[in-house]
């Protein structure tokens, strides 16, 4: 049962969050969205049905960590990656490519390190950077079909550098520059923020930027996001970006500030919600009845 859907409904950030929290392994593939001309019905909202076309990109995970990513049609081989990062000149890359045609990336890395072309650290950092570049690019996509196959793993010849997803999620969200998207997710700056129930666990091993720390230090159900922005001298977009990143990483949650609850209730002239007068024994009778059906 692969998890599948469309980025229209479920963003890459949310997917990564899911994979991270559930500690999943497998390969997440993104496809070109093929329009069908058919109308799809979501209650009273209608939209065109989009189906999976050609593969566009893929990311692989092991136990909730990112280990590999590729864009279809992009050369992600070790030589290209080192070349792009300036660790190998074009000439060196060309020669090595010729000589090492049938060598796997792993074997090649050993050869290059032994021959003092590059250090082990170079290899690790370059591969990691390449993987992250792919992922960050992909995070701006918003209407591609996707599928997570938990039994598909990258082939063993590739060098896999496990990367913690928390930081990828925060950094990725930071890079989602589209203000429109941010506005859509966070339309109301009059909401407040609170920490999740187990903040210690969530914050463990996470690196926050200075900006993020400044926002985090004001998190309190009494402070609206707008007030936090003001206190920190941040623009609406800046605060949206930070709050969105923190929220997607599960570090803060949105709540209504106390004043707003009252205002909303007042607006609608709603009576305070009344608890039905039901006794334990009644509930127990219902339980017995349902058990016996």
């Amino acid at each position: 049962m692969p998890l599948q859907g469309n980025l229209r409904d479920f963003s890459t950030t949310q997917l990564l969050n899911l994979i991270n929290l559930a500690g999943k392994s497998g390969t997440l593939t993104f496809f070109e969205g093929k329009r069908t001309g058919e109308v799809e019905n979501l209650g009273d909202q209608k939209r065109e049905r989009i189906v999976a076309g050609q593969e566009r990109a893929a990311m692989s995970f092991r136990s909730g960590k990112l280990i590999f990513a590729k864009m279809t049609g992009q050369d992600g081989s070790l030589i290209s990656v080192l070349n792009k990062a300036g660790k190998l000149t074009d000439e060196q890359a060309r020669i090595i490519r010729e000589r090492a045609k049938n060598t796997t990336d792993k074997a090649l890395a050993l050869l290059l390190i032994n021959a003092n072309y590059v250090s082990q650290n170079d290899v690790v950092t370059c591969i990691q950077q390449h993987t992250l570049d792919v992922v960050y690019n992909l995070m701006a996509w918003n209407d591609n079909p996707f599928r997570l196959d938990e039994d598909v793993h990258p082939d063993g010849s590739r060098i896999q550098v496990p990367i913690d997803l928390e930081n990828v999620i925060i950094e990725g969200a930071r890079r989602i520059r589209e203000i429109a998207e941010l506005n859509q997710h966070l339309p109301n700056l009059d909401m407040a923020l609170k920490f999740p129930d187990n903040p210690k666990e969530k914050f463990k091993g996470i690196h926050l930027s200075v900006e993020e720390w400044r926002v985090v230090s004001f998190v309190n159900p009494k402070n609206t996001i707008r007030q936090i922005a003001k206190a920190n001298n941040m623009s609406e977009t800046e605060i949206r970006r930070v709050v969105y990143g923190l929220e997607q990483a599960g570090l803060v949650e949105m709540v209504k500030p106390p004043g707003m609850e009252q205002a909303a209730a007042g607006d609608r002239r709603r009576r305070p919600p009344q608890k039905p007068q039901v006794q334990r024994v009644t509930v127990n009778r219902l339980i017995d009845k349902i058990r016996s059906i």
Binding site: Q4, F10, A22, L42, P276, T282, D288, I293
Partner: protein
């Protein structure tokens, strides 16, 4: 005679009517309307426009009513009316339709705001090959640890019974706590 009620809510086509049908002792009084356009028909034939109404009689002086909300937003004026005085509610989610998860979460929040009653989330259509597991749904919908998220097949009476019982247990627990 005492009557108590529970509300079954969730997005369009989540399986609310099916759920009530599986357990109600009376033919469900449904305000279903035939779906007009071909595109919508692909999905299913009928949709609920005002509410579904099911009944479970315990004895001469206790009756449980099950109200199913209409899934479509244009009927959401009915929601608050149905929520009035409910003992608890079930949020049904079509586990095979991630495009409806956001809506499900929003409905959940709306009902939570109506009344501070216990609720459970039913990960419905678990028999569907594309169904997301209950664990994955919990993360996707960001359901807090303390809230029950139950695998469900609304067509199966035993499964429906299980969901209602879990809700009743939560109601008991809340009474004990409060």
């Amino acid at each position: 005679m005492q009557t108590v009620k529970m509300v079954i809510t969730g997005p369009f086509s989540a399986g609310k009517t099916e759920f009530i049908r599986s357990i109600s002792e009376i033919e469900v009084v449904s305000t279903e309307q035939n779906i007009s356009t071909d595109a919508e028909k692909k999905e299913k034939e009928q949709t609920t426009v005002a509410m579904d109404f099911g009944r479970i009689t315990v004895d001469d002086d206790l009756v449980l009513y099950l109200f199913g909300t209409p899934g479509q937003r244009r009927f959401d004026f009915m929601w608050e009316i149905l929520a009035e005085g409910m003992l608890g509610f079930v949020v049904m989610v079509d586990s095979a339709k991630p495009e409806t998860f956001r809506e499900a979460k929003s409905i959940l929040e709306t009902f939570r705001a109506y009344a501070p009653t216990p609720y459970v989330v039913a990960a419905n259509k678990q028999d569907h090959p594309d169904a997301w597991s209950a664990d994955d749904l919990r993360i996707a919908l960001r359901i807090e640890e303390g809230v029950k998220l139950l695998p469900c097949v609304a067509k199966d009476k035993e499964s429906v019974k299980g969901v209602l019982l879990e809700l009743l247990y939560s109601i008991l627990e809340e009474m004990d706590a409060g």
